[in-house]
Amino acid sequence: MATYGVYGFGLRSDFPFANHLAPWSGAPDLTFACRTDPPVAVDWGARIPVYRSTRQTEEGESAFLAYRLDDGDVLRLTGIADFYVGDDRITCHLLEPGREFMVEIALLGTVLSYWMERRGIPALHASGVVVEGRALGFVSTNKGGKSGLAADFMKAGYPLLTDDILPLQEDGGTFWARPGYPTMRMWPTEAEYFLGRWEDLEIVYPGLEKRRVPVGEGEFGTLCDAPRPLTCLYLPERRDPEDGVGVEILPLSSAASVMALVRHSFISRLVEAMGWQKRRLACFARLLTHIPVRRLRYPSGFEHLGRTRDAMLADLEGLRSVDRSG
């Protein structure tokens, strides 16, 4: 058994993680185990799922379902694994041996996002970096540019906070951005640009070209492994460089900001099905009284990332000036 730091929590497990995870020195917050038999007997025929994904398996079943049990919830990847989620324990019942890689992807993504949302910690689909001790986040969907922006900051010496999921925790009027874990995912072209290599990097899972990039320990960049106060959220929007548009950072109305945060929640539909959206809306409304959300328009292409970063750093300096004068 080892304990790892994941999203700023201690995760105790004997699971053979393929991702590079950092050791955790404190007491574990959560234990994860994977087994080939169910941890409790459940009469599934008598259970109605709280949530069914519209995405279906080849057999026409919902690919993802969620159930509420008396002492926890079950997240089902149909035909692959059931995750029994409790307050301090997650147990995976692996239904299809050989699909452990799916267990890891689901655990570090949907399942832990769910576990955090269950605790009232919204998990945004975002990357994050640390500038002068404070976190900024790039909120977008897959292929939206968030990893590239984070990697560019890392290349310039700024620590990564998280690559794909940005958990936000409100504490005493401050919004804290929680760290992810020290692995990024990059497409081969991104890895080639930022690391100068890609072929020797492990693939994220069979059939996907995306590669795992270890962070820190002589690999790429460094990881900030502790929560940092959030300072700004950017919504990246890549433009065709032929448009001749430079880097634009535009303010958003409160309503547009809230809508964007809800839309870019990592497990948005599941959160709605579980009835947690109302408290999240209220949380985002409070967040917007402290944290600006900006639309970031920038030209597509690695060669434009440097000036995009410079524009954001200037924007952050402006925010700090307002803080100092206010």
Partner: protein
């Protein structure tokens, strides 16, 4: 037909959140979001608080510099618009 005697309620899958100077409505069934400006926010608050249009109309008439005729028309159109998006359910008083 919507009149000032119409009763309204917010469907269970519709969420409302106030923000500084505006508000958002989230329809969880469709996944769509709607923004309300300051006046729209006040109309929503009153209409949903009373659950009927007549007392909301009365309050709005006191709060805004607007004629009865104009307010009646705008309020009824506004309720119809929100109802058409599934954000409010309306019921005639007689039914």
């Amino acid at each position: 037909m919507t009149t000032l005697k119409t009763k309204v309620r917010v469907p269970d899958d519709v969420l409302f959140q106030t923000l500084p100077g505006e508000s958002v409505i989230l329809h969880q069934g469709t996944g769509k979001y709607y923004g309300l400006d300051e006046v729209g926010t006040r109309m929503w608050v009153l209409v949903t608080r009373y659950g009927s249009l007549a007392p909301a109309f009365r309050d709005l008439l006191q709060e805004y510099d607007v004629t009865e005729e104009r307010l009646r028309r705008d309020l009824l159109l506004w309720v119809d618009e929100l109802a058409s998006h599934g954000l409010l359910e309306t019921q005639d008083e007689a039914s």
